[in-house]
């Protein structure tokens, strides 16, 4: 595609100037007149009986307007996708983040003091913190109201005949891998302001990633609270980071709503950093048993995975990560025979939800690490093994995913070349290289019945366009990419476009910012609306210029005849002529794009996404054999993105995800002791700093995806999917030890080295 003005440009982000000036208003900065401040009391133990809960002193503190406990929650309202999470807990606390009371007061300081005045007596109980223990026969029930600690979830995927394939495989590799809880560390903490109007309709100022779905959740809550048929409006402030942390609704939001109901005043709750660490839901941790086989030529024959997921005491999206993990399990490389069983188990630990990759990083760590061992057994080098099994355009995978554009081979080639892999591998002298590849959905993901996004465009008398999109801006640049698409189609400048994306009263429906779907789905939606309104514009302009609409074009806000450029009319004039006339008209267009993908059926078959993203990462490391420290000397991240609508934003996504991935691989871990979080602060939770950033190359591979807007696919999540296995492989190449348990710390490497020495 040539002759594009805005597509492919390194356009700067629309919201960047206000952010560098300090003018962006986040939920932390938001004030509403008459606002009260809410604070939550959490339980002191991971598992305990509440013997006494006395809020009387708190209620009497001057400045306190309301104190609530579970007794005040109408109909014992529960949230979460299986509705097992009471918004305030009573009787027993089952995890260290259980909310047991909340207050609303006129200042945050008074609210905090009121919390300290609530008297609670506990009887501590022994807890179960190991999902493998909790699964055993006779283990005490974490949730006494359910018959088993194992959740009734259907995570089982079978394709072909794994047992048969095992018999005919030339080589088989087995292993057990585990991944840890890590947390999003959004710099802007979670928060909301709940406010009712005189008719009891709710407005939520929020930093949710899923406004339309959250609207639904809040309506459920209002119904339970006795407010039927009421409206819910969500206004998003500027969002200080998402990464999936705002993909589910939390107890604090319902608490704010109930407090606002009781006090008849707006109630603001904003998490402190401590709360953000222990009271938000981390990435799902996993214990994975995997075995894979190949024939003598290195072609994969089967992949068998048994997985246990620590579900914590309540259920959120972490329990659904197996449905996404099925994607790499069935479709990373060509594998004909698949067996996957995953069990989610209740424990007295924290519970998990969505985090960039949604299960893919966890299972790709196991798959790719295990493939390294398999390749070694087969005597085939790691890069070649991947080439042999690489996905190709036109493939239909065992889950019935239809691969359209596919740049896996190109990404592997880029990594091999830029890493100088051939010359660096196999030295075993403290320096080593490793690669890993990935697949992720990139054309939406039909996890709900709708995967759609709506866009409404109106153009005004001055030649400017206002775009109302359902897609939220969480910092990734969705507004900017949408502006580029619209500017390209409408032939106007990006500066003449205003995007409105943060008010459910104004914006059309969108399922949410998740699944790397924004560029593809919101982009296509914007593209459709832009094309529709362009038709309307040309229709009116054609009349004005006395020409056929088909012989007109528009550039820089001026519509002109292709044959005779002197025959032209500015867009604003066209619009004024359209409506300043008897029987005039407005120009407005809408387009709801619901991608032609499929829900998975009961056997988990279906083309989940319209198209898929592929990529490969390569790492060169140096391992200090005396301390176990790993230094990354070079990092290459190659991604098949279809088309880079904005290379600068795209690279930024790859960098950001890559650094998160390196943290996941080498140092980040939420440390719990008997269910209590011990490192819930920025000092002891080892998120990477600017000093830790290695030399990084983001390589963009374009495969021109026909179904995507201008050929683009999604890239929000892929950047951290293959990171951990690539690093693990490089460490093995450097010093000959395989670490199968994330994070790969210096201690684990040193221990493994010493054991290797002993064995030698």
């Amino acid at each position: 595609m040539n002759n594009l003005t805005y597509i492919g440009q390194r356009a700067t982000k629309r919201d960047a100037p206000q952010k560098v000036m300090g003018d962006a208003v986040y939920i932390q900065d938001m004030k509403v007149p008459g606002m009260l401040h809410g604070k939550i009391l959490y339980g002191k133990y991971a598992h305990a009986k509440i013997l006494k809960l006395d809020t009387s002193k708190a209620e009497k503190l001057p400045g306190v307007r309301a104190v609530i406990t579970a007794a005040d929650v109408p109909n014992n309202f529960k949230f979460g996708f299986i509705k097992d999470n009471p918004m305030l807990k009573s009787g027993k606390i089952l995890s260290s983040r259980d909310e047991i009371a909340a207050v609303a007061a006129i200042t945050p300081e008074i609210a905090e003091e009121a919390i300290s005045l609530i008297e609670v007596e506990y009887e501590e109980l022994p807890g179960i913190f190991d999902p493998l223990e909790a699964m055993k026969e006779g283990a005490p029930l974490v949730r006494e109201e359910f018959k088993s600690n194992v959740l009734k979830l259907p995570w089982k995927l079978i394709a072909g005949d794994v047992e048969e394939a095992k018999k005919t495989s030339a080589f088989i590799a087995e292993g057990t891998y585990s991944t840890q809880w890590v947390t999003h560390c959004c710099l802007g903490t979670s928060g909301c302001i709940a406010s009712f109007d005189a008719g009891n309709n709710l407005t939520m100022y929020s930093n949710t990633q899923i406004p339309s779905l959250a609207q639904n959740d809040y309506i459920e809550a209002l119904k339970a609270f006795g407010l039927k048929n009421k409206g819910v409006r969500i206004i998003q402030c500027v969002i200080g980071g998402g990464f999936g942390s705002k993909l589910d609704t939390y107890a604090y939001e319902y608490i704010a709503i109930l407090l606002a109901m009781k006090t008849r005043k707006p109630v603001k709750i904003v998490f402190s950093r401590e709360e953000e660490f222990f009271a938000t839901s981390p990435r799902q941790c996993t214990i994975t048993k995997i075995s894979q086989g190949c024939d003598k030529d290195g072609k994969l024959t089967f992949r068998e995975i048994n997985m246990v997921l620590d579900n914590g005491a309540y259920t959120s999206w972490g329990a659904t990560t197996p449905s996404v993990m099925m994607m790499p399990i069935s479709s990373l490389y060509r594998v004909p025979n698949i067996k996957y069983i995953a069990k989610c188990v209740y424990t007295n630990n924290t519970y998990s939800q969505a985090f960039r990759g949604y299960g893919n990083p966890q299972v790709t760590f196991a798959i790719e690490s295990n493939i390294e061992e398999l390749a070694e057994k087969a005597g085939i080098n790691a890069v070649e093994f991947r080439r042999i099994n690489a996905n190709e355009p036109g493939d239909v995978t065992p889950q019935n995913f239809r691969i359209t554009s596919c740049g896996m081979k190109e990404c592997i080639d880029e990594v091999e070349k830029r890493l100088d892999w051939k010359n660096k591998v196999g030295k075993h002298n403290g320096r080593g290289v490793g690669v890993a590849a990935m697949i992720h959905n990139a054309g939406g993901a039909r996890v709900y019945k709708s995967d759609g996004c709506g866009t409404i465009i109106k153009v005004d008398d001055f030649g400017k366009a206002v775009v109302m999109t359902g897609s939220s801006e969480i910092g990734q640049g969705s507004e900017t990419v949408i502006s580029q698409i619209i500017a390209e189609v409408l032939g106007i400048q990006i500066e003449d476009i205003n995007i409105i994306n943060n008010d459910t009263d104004v914006c059309p429906w969108d399922v949410g910012v998740h699944a790397s779907r924004t560029t593809f789905v919101a982009g296509n939606s914007a593209l459709g609306a832009a094309q529709k309104i362009r038709e309307q514009i040309m229709e009116v302009a054609a009349k004005n210029l006395g020409e056929d609409a088909a012989s007109l074009d528009i550039k820089n806000g001026v519509i002109f005849s292709i044959k005779d450029k002197e025959k032209n009319i500015p867009l604003g004039k066209v619009l004024r002529k359209a409506h300043y006339t008897l029987g005039g008209r407005m120009l407005v267009a809408e387009h709801f794009y619901d991608p032609p993908n499929e829900n998975l059926d009961q056997n988990f078959r279906g083309n989940l996404s319209v198209t898929y993203a592929f990529g490969a990462h390569g790492v060169e490391v140096e391992v200090d054999k005396e301390t176990g420290h790993v230094k990354i000397l070079n990092y290459i991240a190659a991604h098949d993105v279809g088309r880079a609508l904005n290379p600068m934003l795209l690279e930024a996504q790859i960098h950001g995800a890559g650094i998160q991935g390196i943290g996941y691989a080498l140092g980040e871990k939420m440390i719990y002791n008997k269910g209590m979080l011990k490192n819930g602060n920025f000092l002891d939770y080892k998120m990477l700093t600017a000093r830790d950033v290695p030399p990084m190359q983001a390589v963009i591979v374009e495969t021109d995806e026909q179904a995507g807007p201008f050929g683009a696919k999604g890239v929000g999540e892929p950047g951290l999917v293959p990171t951990a296995p690539a690093i693990a492989a490089a460490i093995y190449d450097a010093v000959g030890v395989r670490i199968k348990d994330l994070p790969i710390t210096p201690e684990k490497i040193l221990k493994a080295l010493k054991e290797k020495e002993k064995g030698a």
Partner: protein, 325 residues
């Protein structure tokens, strides 16, 4: 709700008098420890007496050794060329504390008085034979820093006393020092362990040979072999370790084993084991005891080699840190 009053005395005497006359008062310097404790509700003072505006506490005097005031910030020390060259361990340590924002206000006096077992400037001051000059109602006194640390967050200060400064002797030529902070990430971190060393060396063989050893990128073993060949001896040694005991400690037995002997791989093995035996590391969320003990062995060797390197190549900015091998 309680708050606190905030006083800004301009002289040491004013500060001490205020402390004597107020109830529930605490000194605050850079505030990076005190303000955190207040926020965490671990400290609830009614009065804070700031030491930030007392010019008598912010001296750096480089005649006849090194004297630094308790109110000198980490950034001021990092910027000082004299300290970097001649009291390198202190420069190493202060440059790695927290972040730039922390170093700009945090004082060495505050770091030492807070006396966390992980205080980075503690081990350098121990190996640099610092005396702590303390001033209070009864006047001034000097305490050797080894006697100043009493335990976790406990130092030998009487009520109302302020650390006026740290005074270190002139070590003359042929002395180098180093501090190695072993962390998980490259900034904003506390040490898993910290090791400081100071050595005064004598070379019987060729100085150029020793220089050569450090200039080539080679394995640690080969560097040590070369130094052994040139008969390099540590005439005087100090080794200090942090985060391996309730307070920062000297590895006195290891020092004695090293003093006066020719460097060799076997000697390093030996003193590494001795130093490790003098340490009592614990398991904590920040590190496991067995690993910390291993690191004592590894980093003692590296700290000493780095100190030696600084004597042999005083004008080089890149000193031996870690070599593949």
């Amino acid at each position: 709700m309680k708050g606190f009053e905030y006083y800004k005395p301009l002289s040491i005497k004013e500060a001490i008098d205020l402390m004597g006359s107020l109830d529930n008062a605490k000194y605050i310097a850079g505030g990076t420890d005190v303000m955190v404790l207040v926020r965490q509700k671990k400290l609830a003072p009614a009065n804070l007496i700031s030491l930030r505006n007392i010019s008598d506490l912010s001296y750096i005097d480089t005649k006849n050794g090194l004297k630094i005031g308790g109110g000198v910030t980490h950034s001021e020390i990092v910027k000082n060329e004299f300290i970097r060259k001649h009291y390198s361990a202190l420069s190493d340590a202060t440059g790695k504390v927290g972040s730039k924002q922390i170093r700009n206000v945090a004082t060495v006096g505050g770091n030492i008085c807070n006396a966390a077992p992980s205080a980075d400037s503690a081990c350098p001051l121990l190996v640099l034979d610092a005396n702590v000059v303390v001033v209070g109602k009864k006047g001034e006194r000097e305490i050797p820093i080894d006697e100043f640390f009493m335990g976790p967050n406990k130092v030998a200060l009487e009520a109302g006393e302020i650390v006026k400064g740290f005074h270190m002797p002139d070590f003359g030529a042929n002395t180098g020092s180093a501090y190695i902070k072993h962390t998980r990430r490259q900034a904003m971190d506390l040490p898993m362990i910290g090791i400081a060393a100071r050595v005064t060396i004598k070379i019987s063989g060729s100085e150029v040979g020793c220089k050569d050893a450090f200039c080539t990128i080679d394995s640690i073993s080969n560097v040590i072999k070369r130094l052994e060949d040139e008969k390099l001896v540590c005439e005087d040694v100090r080794i200090a370790m942090g985060v391996v005991a309730p307070r920062p400690i000297r590895a006195k037995k290891a020092e004695a084993a090293l003093k006066g002997k020719v460097i060799s791989e076997a000697l390093f093995e030996e003193i590494g084991e001795i130093a490790a035996s003098e340490s009592q590391p614990r398991d904590s969320i920040r590190g496991e005891a067995w690993y910390r003990r291993e690191m004592v062995k590894v980093l003692t060797k590296r700290a000493i080699l780095k100190s030696i390197d600084r004597v042999i190549r005083p004008d080089d900015t890149i000193h031996f840190d870690r070599i593949r091998g």
